[in-house]
Amino acid sequence: MGEYHIRIVNVNKSFGPVEALKNVSIDIPRGNFTTFLGPSGCGKTTMLRTIAGFYELKEGEIYIGERLINRVPSHQRNAIMVFQDYALFPHMNIGENIAYGLKIKKIPNEEIKSRVEKTTSYLGIQGLEKRNPGQISGGQQQRVALARALVMEPEVLLLDEPLSNLDAKLRMNIRAELRQIQKRLGITTIYVTHDQAEALALSDQIAIMDTGRIIQSGTPWEIYYKPLNEFVADFVGTANLITGRVSESSDKYLLLDIDAAQIMIEEPNLSVDTGSTVTLCIRPETIEIFKGMPEDKTNVLKGKIVNYIFEGSQIRYWVEIDQKKVVVDSFDPSEKGIYEGEVAIRFHPKKMHILYGKE
């Protein structure tokens, strides 16, 4: 994994007055699955298309391996893309669709045949060759689009929200399959999505994008538990954001005054000055909930349940504390049942994350 396969250095791109990409830089190791995640219009698709070579790159550099590819035409980059709408050619059957790129490359027919067969059997879509794109299901279309890319044996696979046109259940299945295939082939993959759950499930590395910038990049675990700011915390998963004033600060712990109480944070991730204002990101599943008061009263706050959703394996509560709502996920409610009315919640001293800077 040591060596970087793709290096994106200070890329800028604008469409007329609209700046779609601002100073984007990221390094992607060989064989890595990297996701650009962000809301629509954040520039993630533009980034992907720029890597694919559909947009002219004037500012910045993109390297694949040692090669600077700024001026290399799309088809010589060996970076093949799977489109959101699959872009299967409607005037060709499935077999012709998959073989298209190989035919253009003038690969001998024998080899085309064996490579198409290999890929279709690999993806479980044999026997569809004679059908037209309109005659197969959405899931099959998805696989055909993937087959058309994989059959080229690309160095880099580019995926533009390839699961967004599938229904929920199929999406889950194909998601797992996609990750498996990618791992087995060891192909460097760049994925674009607005679905944070998908990004967390699939990626080795996530780059969170907003308004043309990469806000934060890191492993899914880092992105989820160590968000850099409120935007990331809020966009990935559910976050309770609590703001308070630091009343005591040391390497070991931190005391924070919030409206109702004082909260202690052990082993804080950042050192902050006494008297400054900071925001905490607390994930719902790290908060404990009690009917009545627990014995250890550190970080315990009293509140009232205003709403809940029962989801089987867990219950999500909205607990009102001083006119602020805190989301709490309580797992395995098999014995506890569903709480109502007055409750107490406890923030775990080691499971709170201090956000850098306040926007």
Partner: protein
């Protein structure tokens, strides 16, 4: 009986709304009398013997052969140039794209005979370019002149259709092709062209109908080279042989009806055009310089050929004697105001016909798309049908059906206005159907669900959209009515003469000056109405839905 049940139930529902029933009956009666009846009269007027004798008539056979030849030649060139334009405008970054585009749609709003007339002035025996500038003793008169005129007159239709087709190809398909290795011409050959092929076929078929039924160009420029339409006209004009004309028109109708059906029910279904929502910002692959400049030069040549048409008219309207006396004069322009009932006739007839036609067709479109009733299929079919009927056939139909009892409208304004109304019904009707399809019934349902009364729904949701398409329908019907020659050529007399008829006679008698002045005025009116409508409805106006 279970099959009849739904229809009878719908009918019962309609019976409960007497106003609706009245309108419905009126529409069906009108379509029967003014579309179906004249058509039947054309077929039934000649005897069977007249039809059987066609293969023995050398003049008929020659006209058939010539018509076929022109359809093949002109359709090919018009489609080719149309595609060239459409491709250049949608896929390349040539300069002056907007200008080229505007010039290319000008002929759509001009009298169809105008191209032939102007080329006669430019390239004829006394042509400004051929004789005066180049000193050549050649003339464009004949089949080659007809070929050129029809190509220039009808390629814009093809261009417009194919532009739509090329634009609706999902950009990701071409991206995918490029990504997988196809560049430049290879991409065009393997992706763009095959995807556009059904659209190209559709455009070619539609253009071929227009060329087959084109009357204005051959009558002015073809001379002895007679095609079916002009032969039909000669029958009546020269020999008073209405039967012969009816036979020839019937021969003409058959292929255009078949082509129309193929286009409508077969090619359309094979089209790959899908609207997949999400149109992403498309950055085009820069066109290679030699392709870019080749396309640009070709389009520019065509654009110049179009502009020549208008230049010739303008000059023609202001010189004393085309070809021999080039002194300037304003006499022709003045004479139009002083003693020309035809221009006034053209204007009033076209306004009335345009308005009535839009009203009629929008009402029919509303009923067909929103109500269930007996004969709904008949109304739908008969409203579209006129698009496939050559103007000359329509005109002969009216002259046979409505110039003798029980309905005798000989020489009246009514017969001309009626023919204009119903010949144009298909234009407004298709716009209307498109509009009502666009207004999903769930929109109204949603409004009703939120408490809006049906009047309110109509006023706030449907009316604004309908207004736009009503205007579009009016503009198209008006322009087609004021510029048509083929429909009215059999119906014009000295009492109800319209401008296009006078122009035809002036040109054939060699009075180019007055003809040019009159044509220029028709153009001014047509473009004024167009500009006004554009100003009123703006961008949403959708003209020439095909």
């Amino acid at each position: 009986m279970s099959v009849c049940f739904p229809a009878s139930r719908y009918m019962r529902r309609i019976l409960r709304e007497p106003f609706l029933l009245l309108i419905l009956t009126g529409i069906i009666l009108c379509l029967l009398i003014f579309v179906a009846y004249p058509m039947i009269r054309v077929f039934s007027y000649p005897s069977l013997k007249d039809f059987v004798q066609v293969p023995q008539n050398i003049r008929y056979l020659r006209a058939i052969r010539n018509s076929l030849l022109m359809v093949v030649l002109s359709t090919s060139t018009a489609t080719l140039i149309g595609f060239l334009f459409a491709y250049t405008i949608t896929r390349t970054d040539v300069p002056l794209k907007k200008v080229l585009k505007v010039i290319s749609i000008l002929p759509l709003f001009s009298p169809p005979f105008m191209v032939a007339f102007s080329y006669l002035m430019m390239f004829g025996k006394n042509g400004l370019i051929t004789a005066q500038l180049l000193g050549l003793r050649v003339s464009i008169f004949g089949w080659h002149g007809l070929w050129l005129s029809e190509t220039i007159a009808f390629f814009p239709v093809a261009a417009l259709i194919m532009e739509g087709v090329l634009q609706s190809i999902a950009p990701s398909l071409e991206y995918a092709g490029r990504n997988l290795g196809a560049t430049g011409f290879k991409l065009f050959r393997t992706i763009t062209l095959p995807l556009a092929r059904p659209g190209v076929a559709g455009a070619a078929l539609l253009v071929s109908i227009l060329i087959l039924s084109d009357f204005g160009n051959p009558i002015m420029i073809a001379g002895d080279f007679s095609v079916l339409v002009t032969e039909a006209w000669m029958r009546v004009e020269g020999w008073g042989d209405v039967r012969g004309a009816a036979v020839l028109s019937s021969i003409l109708l058959l292929p255009s009806l078949i082509i129309f059906m193929i286009q409508r029910y077969w090619v359309r279904q094979r089209s790959y055009v899908t609207i997949t929502g999400k149109i992403t910002q498309v950055e085009k692959e820069p066109t290679r310089w030699y392709i870019k400049w080749t396309l640009f030069s070709l389009c520019s040549i065509v654009a110049v050929m179009i502009l020549l048409v208008y230049v010739a008219l303008l000059i023609g309207a202001f010189v004393k004697g085309w070809g021999f006396d080039w002194t300037l004069t304003t006499n022709y322009v003045k004479s139009i105001f002083s003693r020309s009932p035809e221009l006034m006739h053209s204007l009033t007839f076209a306004v009335i016909a345009g308005f009535a036609s839009s009203l009629f067709s929008m009402t029919a479109a509303y009923l067909v798309s929103r109500k269930r009733f007996l004969l709904r299929k008949f109304v739908d079919f008969t409203c579209i049908l006129p698009a496939a009927i050559p103007g000359i056939f329509f005109g002969i139909g009216y002259s046979i059906a409505f110039t003798r009892p029980p309905i005798d409208l000989y020489g009246t304004a009514s017969i001309i206005i009626l023919s204009m109304i119903f010949w144009n019904v298909s234009m407004g009707y298709q716009t209307g159907i498109g509009t009502f399809q666009q207004i999903s019934p769930s929109l109204g349902e949603a409004a009703a669900n939120l408490g809006a009364s049906s009047m309110k729904i109509f006023r706030q949701i449907e009316a604004p959209l309908i207004k736009t398409s009503f205007f579009s329908a009016f503009v198209v019907s008006f322009i087609r009515a004021i510029t048509t020659l083929s429909v009215i050529v059999f119906l014009s007399t000295s009492r109800n003469v319209v401008a296009t008829f006078t122009i035809m006679n002036l040109v054939s008698d060699g009075f180019y000056g007055k003809a040019a002045a009159l044509t220029s005025f028709l153009l001014v009116i047509a473009f004024a109405v167009l500009g006004l409508a554009k100003l009123v409805i703006g961008k949403r106006m959708e003209l020439f839905r095909v």
